[in-house]
């Protein structure tokens, strides 16, 4: 019987080494996966060092962004130097006298000497006691400039002549004393003065009515017509003497426009224009770091720009009832919302032209719905909702509150701007993360 011989174990070292080398990678993988409690400290340390590396990378990215900005000096000049120049220009032009002290050209027609027939007893009267006193009152009023006076009894085409003058722009208002003016006052009834203001320019209607009211005040006081209501006005949150009311009120609009608009323009091309982004993605730089570095860079530019605007405003005599810090923060927040909007436009645009056109659409809508041209309260509800979503409608009340009322920056408008900015930044990050690049 043949015995089966046990095969002796072969101890060929080279084969063993080969086998180990085959097993080693998978063993290493297991080794990596197995947690090592003793190494916790090291892991923590590595996290810190990772953070340091990331921070350094972002820092270098920021420097790169600044270099990129520096290559276009003309653009930087426009963004940083021109806005303060506009403020200075406004400062020089807006120091004129307030509009209420400018007299309004008018014509006065009196029908008071015509025959008045009393409807109750059909008696006739030609009383004309108050025409000349009212003419004197108009002449006394610094808000009215009497171009011509007509007595309609003698000049029957007086109203036509006055209307032609109104149409041609020679005068802004026609004043007319009706046939029963003296009679009604004598009967203890209200004396009515008809006024026909040029209503084609909505800004001047109120000014015209104010000037007529001024002449009425003079008329009743001079002729001792009592009882009259004495109105005593006190203005709260007014601008002290020595400061220009016009400059202060126009700068609020100009500042929010400029800060928002320039931040928007500066950032609309940051992603869509930069060609090396695709190649950057081959390096360890993360997408979030690229976007973050852009935000840091443009935020620093914004800080510099806002500082210059505040300084130029103060130099030109801007009155601030609140604190300068609040004004700075408010301007920064308005600018930051523009920056967030710009980066959002850039991240979702495929080409530069698209970004430019989107900018135009967003800016035009934001400007027209900002409440400067049409009061937001006068818009229908759906439009009010859109207006309040857009950042520019919050700029004017926020700045006005700080500049003239001394309000704190931390209010509903600031919070809303912050919320809009955060939402836009998050969306931009998400879009940029998913953006496809061809290297």
């Amino acid at each position: 019987m043949a015995k089966l011989k046990k095969k002796p174990l072969s101890l060929d070292k080279t084969k063993i080494k080969e086998r180990i080398s085959k097993i080693k990678p998978s063993f290493n993988k297991i080794k990596k996966k197995t947690p090592k409690p003793k190494l916790n400290l090291k892991k923590h340390g590595s996290k810190i060092s990772n953070l340091k590396v990331n921070a350094l990378r972002i820092f270098k990215q920021v420097i790169k962004e600044f270099r990129l900005l520096w290559t276009d000096k003309f653009n930087l000049f426009l963004a940083i130097v021109v806005p303060p120049l506009i403020i200075i220009m406004l400062g020089f032009t807006m120091t004129d006298a307030p509009p209420e002290t400018q007299s309004i050209p008018c014509m006065l027609i009196s029908y008071d000497s015509n025959t008045f027939i009393n409807q109750n007893d059909f008696t006739e009267s030609n009383l004309d006691n108050y025409t000349m006193p009212y003419v004197e009152a108009v002449n006394k009023s610094i808000m009215l400039e009497l171009v011509r006076f007509y007595n309609a009894t003698e000049e029957i085409y007086a109203m036509e002549a006055a209307r032609n003058a109104l149409l041609s722009g020679e005068i802004n208002i026609i004043l007319s004393l009706p046939v029963d003016f003296t009679e009604l006052l004598d009967f203890g009834l209200p004396g009515l003065i008809d006024c026909v203001p040029d209503a084609s320019n909505i800004q001047y209607i109120q000014q015209s009515l104010n000037s007529v009211y001024d002449s009425i005040k003079i008329f009743v006081n001079d002729n001792n017509l009592t009882p009259q209501f004495q109105i005593q006005g006190f203005e709260e949150f007014t601008i002290p003497e020595g400061y220009s009311n016009n400059f202060n009120s126009s700068i609020v609009m100009a500042l929010s426009f400029m800060v928002f608009g320039i931040a928007l323009v500066l950032s609309i091309l940051v992603i869509v224009q930069e060609k090396p982004i695709a190649r950057l993605l081959l390096t360890p730089v993360k997408r979030s770091e690229i976007l973050l570095s852009k935000f840091i860079t443009y935020t620093l530019v914004l800080v510099f720009q806002v500082s210059l605007l505040v300084i130029s405003g103060l130099v030109m005599g801007l009155y601030i009832a609140g604190t300068i810090t609040d004004l700075f923060l408010a301007l920064f927040m308005i600018g930051f919302s523009g920056l967030a909007m710009g980066v959002f436009i850039s991240s979702q645009s495929k080409t530069k032209t698209q970004a430019n056109q989107l900018f135009l659409a967003v800016f035009l809508v934001a400007v027209l719905l900002s409440g400067i041209f049409i009061p937001i309260e006068g818009m229908p509800v759906y439009l009010q909702v859109i207006a309040y979503i857009l950042p520019l409608s919050h700029g004017d009340p926020l700045l006005r509150g700080i500049i003239q009322k001394g309000q704190s920056v931390l209010g509903i408008h600031f919070i809303w701007l912050l919320v809009i900015s955060i939402i836009l930044i998050i969306i931009s990050f998400v879009i940029f993360q998913r953006r496809k690049y061809e290297v």
Partner: protein, 384 residues
């Protein structure tokens, strides 16, 4: 011969960017639609008030009757009967401490912007009404709103008139009765028609400036074209013609849309259309000037924006053109809005023919911008 080809090339370039074209024609549609559907009386100043009455406080001197009857009438009128006033709250103060507290509360409401004015009825209010002497009304107004300051004294005449009628105080009362001339009739959209003279030029200028502000600076092959016999003036001219044709189409679209959405025009519609075209042409010339001057696309965008802001700020809406002098007046005349707004107002609301001086300034400024664009482009160094 070259020019025809260049214009065709320009159209090809504009057509290749369909999104630009769509936006160019869609933005005005949206904006006019938005403003055309906007109705309501938002153009008149509407006041919201809080009232503090001191009428219950004792009075001495000439007022022995110590009445406090009429303050309730006045408050009731303010609350229910006025058309241009809103009512927030009222406070009855019977001594000075209560008045101080009430005033402090009202001051904070005024500061928050919820009200425009605090009205204080003094302690002798009812007595003055009873004795037919001059009653006093005290108000504290939010002066940060310039429109409110200018409108208050006239606006308060409405509740006063109603109060005088109710309390039989009509003797010696003199009041004005306004009849607005050249205003927008009540059946037309007041907001649209009052806003049109400013908004239409802004839309046209904004879109045409944007269309052309990148036309030179963003066109890559342009320097290489200079190797060919094409002259620089032909390039500028072809851009001017091509963009003007686009602008013409856009102006026609805006004209039809505004007419459809309730344009109220007493004057000639042809003049109105002509003015729109002139404004558009001015926008193109400014855009070309910006494009020729700017070294990069971003600079062109930046310049476009700054120019746009300057045009709006010095449009005459904030600082009227007539109130400026010398250099400032010339500067404002060189910006299209300062002449475009009165031109459109005169045509639509007054029915006047176009003012020749305004037309002269708009066209002169366009000519200057396009000439400057040509010279800048002539001397611009381009790398082929």
């Amino acid at each position: 011969m070259y020019l025809g080809g260049l214009i065709r090339k320009e159209f090809g370039r504009i057509r290749s960017d369909k999104r630009t074209l769509i936006l160019l024609f869609v933005i005005p549609v949206i904006l006019i639609l938005v403003f055309g559907l906007t109705t309501g009386g938002g153009l008149t100043k509407f006041f919201t008030s809080a009232i503090i009455t001191l009428d219950d406080m004792p009075t001495y001197d000439n007022f022995p009757s110590n009445s406090s009857e009429y303050d309730d009438n006045f408050i009731s009128i303010m609350q229910y009967n006025t058309s241009s006033w809103g009512f927030h709250s009222y406070y009855n103060a019977t001594d000075l401490d209560e008045y101080k507290n009430a005033y402090q509360t009202c001051y904070e409401i005024l500061r928050s912007g919820d009200i425009d004015i605090i009205i204080v009825l003094p302690s002798n209010f009812s007595e003055s009404v009873e004795n037919k002497t001059n009653p006093v009304l005290i108000y504290h107004i939010d002066a940060s709103d310039l429109a409110a300051i200018t409108a208050i004294e006239v606006a308060i005449q409405e509740p006063i008139a109603l109060f005088r009628a109710e309390t039989d105080m009509m003797a010696n009362f003199t009041i004005m009765v306004p009849y607005l001339e050249f205003d927008v009739p009540f059946w037309e959209s007041a907001i649209l028609n009052y806003a049109l003279p400013l908004i239409l030029p802004i839309i046209i200028l904004g879109t045409t400036m944007n269309l052309t502000s990148l036309s030179i600076v963003a066109e890559g092959p342009l320097p290489r074209m200079l190797i060919t016999p094409t002259a620089k003036r032909e390039i500028i001219l072809s851009k001017l013609i091509a963009n003007s044709i686009i602008m013409l189409l856009q102006s026609t679209e805006i004209f039809i849309l505004t007419a459809f959405f309730g344009l109220y025009s007493l004057g000639s519609l042809f003049s109105f259309f002509l003015v729109l075209i002139m404004i558009g042409f001015s926008g193109i010339c400014i855009g070309l000037f910006i494009s020729a001057l700017s070294p990069t696309e971003q600079s062109a965008n930046q310049m476009y924006l700054i120019m746009f802001i300057i045009i709006i700020l010095f449009s005459g809406s904030i600082l009227p053109l007539g109130e400026t002098e010398g250099g400032m007046q010339i500067f404002m005349n060189m910006l299209p809005l300062s002449n475009a707004v009165p031109l459109i107002t005169d045509i639509t609301l007054k029915g006047l023919p176009p003012d020749l001086t305004s037309i002269f300034w708009i066209n002169l400024s366009s000519l200057i911008y396009v000439t400057l664009a040509y010279f800048i482009y002539m001397f611009k160094k381009l790398e082929v």
